[in-house]
């Protein structure tokens, strides 16, 4: 256990260079490579005074190292300043956007994961038989269609033609939001089924050929008992760790679904920022997602040791 603690501490320290690297990448992209945003903001013929004033407001009159330090500071304090387009505090925009995003992504993620695991168990149970082949072929076929096509076709038929769902928009408050997020959730689930079933099937099949399964068979246990009591329980280790790393992306919402269905979440916010050349929001979004990703990969490692005592972190 002591070794594990050491490992976790070392990993926590390792977060710092990675975070500095992320900030550096964002700095290079938006502060060094990107063209001067002042021209974009002020139109074609700004006066010299205007330019100086705006540059000062945006902190662009500082030296490049100072600009880099500003980004690093924001990664630790989560104070990203104000949006160029809406003039709002970015941290407030994040708070407001998180709720609609989470109402969409959390149910979608759980339904998708749960149903994919069920399908994967069925497929693994009937491995090599017709059902297995059929579901696998369907998965690959489903993965070969662009996600935008799913969104367009589902919205057209289910919402526009048949009126089963709201076409777009969002309302706050418990039962109300459900009318608006259920179609995006459905699309999310359909989009994840293909890759997820394939992935979980592999994880389960990895377990099926282990020695303990042979022992269980030799003992005379039924296929079903082996599947659920032995194989699935062991396969849950990689499955759980895989799902943990996906969690931070739930907070970020879904870029395509939110902007398409006009759900005022973080994904929609990002797309609007992109269209408005709103650099601070884009930078903030990249930093927040990177921080979340780094923290959750660490949690994944820890979860790994907790659920599987065979693994010792070093």
């Amino acid at each position: 256990m002591n070794g594990n603690l050491n490992y976790i501490i070392r990993r926590l320290i390792y977060l710092i260079p990675v975070l500095l690297g992320v900030c550096f990448l964002i700095f290079i992209l938006f502060n060094v490579v990107a063209p001067d945003p002042v021209n974009m903001m002020l139109g074609k013929h700004p006066t010299a005074d205007q330019i100086i004033e705006v540059r000062e407001q945006l902190g662009l009159n500082k030296s490049l190292p100072a600009q880099y330090l500003d980004i690093v500071k924001s990664a630790f304090t989560f104070d990203f300043g104000r949006s160029w387009a809406t003039k709002q505090q970015i941290s407030t925009m994040f708070m407001n956007g998180a709720i609609p995003s989470l109402t969409l992504t959390i149910p979608a993620f759980f339904i998708a994961t749960f149903s994919s695991i069920i399908f994967a168990v069925i497929v693994a149970y009937f491995r090599g038989k017709g059902v297995d082949l059929f579901i696998r072929v369907t998965c690959i076929a489903m993965m070969s269609i662009s996600s935008l096509v799913y969104i367009l076709v589902f919205q057209y038929f289910l919402a526009y033609k048949w009126g089963l769902f709201e076409i777009s928009g969002y309302e706050y408050g418990f039962p109300n939001f459900l009318y608006y997020v259920s179609l995006p959730i459905l699309i999310w689930v359909v989009l994840s089924l293909g890759p997820d079933i394939r992935f979980y099937r592999t994880l389960i099949l990895d377990e099926i050929y282990q020695d303990y399964v042979r022992t269980a068979k030799a003992k005379g246990l039924s296929e079903r008992t082996i599947m659920f009591k032995h194989v699935l329980r062991n396969a849950m280790i990689p499955i759980v760790t895989y799902t943990v790393v996906q969690l931070p992306f739930l907070l970020l919402g879904s870029l395509l679904l939110e902007s398409f269905f006009s759900i005022p979440g973080l994904g929609d916010m990002t797309i609007s920022a992109l269209n408005a050349s709103d650099f601070p929001v884009l930078k903030a979004m990249s930093i927040v997602s990177a921080v979340a990703y780094i923290i959750f990969t660490l949690i994944q490692d820890i979860v790994y040791t907790v659920v599987d005592p065979r693994i010792k972190l070093q």
Binding site: F24, I26, L29, D206
Partner: protein, 325 residues
């Protein structure tokens, strides 16, 4: 473990049985690649997929040379004519043939896959091989570099890079001429720069495994330098990873082009499946489904072929991984 294997190999080779000798000579005649090809050939669906991919590549090449669908911009009929015997996939808003646009779009799809691979492979293989081979601080620096890169969600990075490149429209058109398609250029660079991490990880792991194998030690004993060991001995043994990865890269690139078109960061001067699918946002409500249908079918067939081919290539080139996805 390794030693055990070697002993078994030696015993096998010295086995007096004539049958074993025969098998050995048969195996000797086949190179690794020929062997993989024979395994791939067994899989009829994979062969069909390969044929489809080659067909798309030829169509793309012909349309890039102006031999096929060069007249896609020509008005052939009324605006939004539905599919008929005259226009198989109907016409678009300007009355242009959708079938010609689909054929011409093949060029964009295949070039997006090809060029983003050509950018990602040198970066991924170069960094991965250095990290795996040299180890120590080189490895740590490169691992830090790709961890940093992969910490930002790839869609954010993809979006930001494409967005920033497009802001340089004036400068880039000064260098490459006014007709240069900045949208397509941005898609190439953004996809290339965001898709090397996975390859880099795989190559690093594989080179690490290989560098301590006997054949590399033998090369070392014969006085081979780092460059020779790496390029002549180790890299040929990891080439299969690059091939499998490229098949994957093509289908990711083709699908990403659609997303970038939706974000307004896509191709602008020539037809692409992404822009055609994206146009359906406005068209579907008016009952115009044929651009969406045509582009989706064209994309579905080739992405499916790349998916199946990728799986089959992995089974054929890396039998250890058989059945895993």
């Amino acid at each position: 473990m390794l030693k055990q294997n070697t002993i078994n190999d030696v015993r096998g080779a010295m086995s007096p049985s004539k049958k074993a000798d025969k098998i050995n000579t048969v195996l000797k005649d086949r190179s690794l690649w020929l062997d993989a090809w024979h395994r791939l050939k067994q899989d009829k669906i994979a062969v069909v997929s390969l044929a489809i991919v080659l067909f798309y590549a030829v169509v793309g090449l012909l349309s890039a040379m102006g031999l096929l669908a060069a007249n896609w911009n020509e008005v052939v009929g009324p605006s939004y004519a539905p599919p008929s015997a005259d226009y198989w996939f109907g016409t678009d808003f300007l009355g242009r043939s959708v079938s010609r646009k689909i054929i011409s779009g093949t060029q964009v799809a295949m070039s997006v896959g090809l060029i983003s691979s050509l950018i990602a492979i040198p970066i991924g293989v170069g960094l991965g091989a250095c990290a795996g081979y040299f180890g120590k601080w080189v490895d740590e620096a490169i691992v830090w570099f790709y961890t940093t890169f992969s910490s930002i969600p790839s869609i954010m990075l993809l979006m930001s890079i494409a967005f920033i490149i497009q802001k340089f429209q004036v400068e880039i058109s000064e260098v490459f001429g006014a007709n240069f398609d900045i949208g397509l250029f941005a898609v190439f660079i953004a996809l290339g720069l965001t898709s090397w991490v996975g390859l880099c990880r795989l190559i690093r792991g594989e080179v690490m495994k290989h560098k301590n194998r006997e054949y590399v030690q033998a090369a070392d004993a014969l006085g081979a330098g780092h460059t020779r060991k790496l390029f002549k001995h180790i890299l040929p043994n990891v080439t299969h990873i690059i091939i499998i990865n490229t098949s994957l890269q093509f289908q990711i690139a083709i699908k990403s082009e659609v997303i970038l078109s939706y974000l307004g960061l896509g191709v602008s001067g020539q037809p692409s499946w992404g822009t055609m699918i994206n146009d359906a946002k406005e068209e579907l409500a008016r009952g115009v489904y044929w651009q969406l249908l045509g582009a989706t079918i064209a994309m579905f067939v080739v992405v499916l072929a790349f998916n199946i081919l990728g799986d089959a290539l992995r089974d054929a080139l890396d039998p250890k991984l058989k059945g895993k996805s």
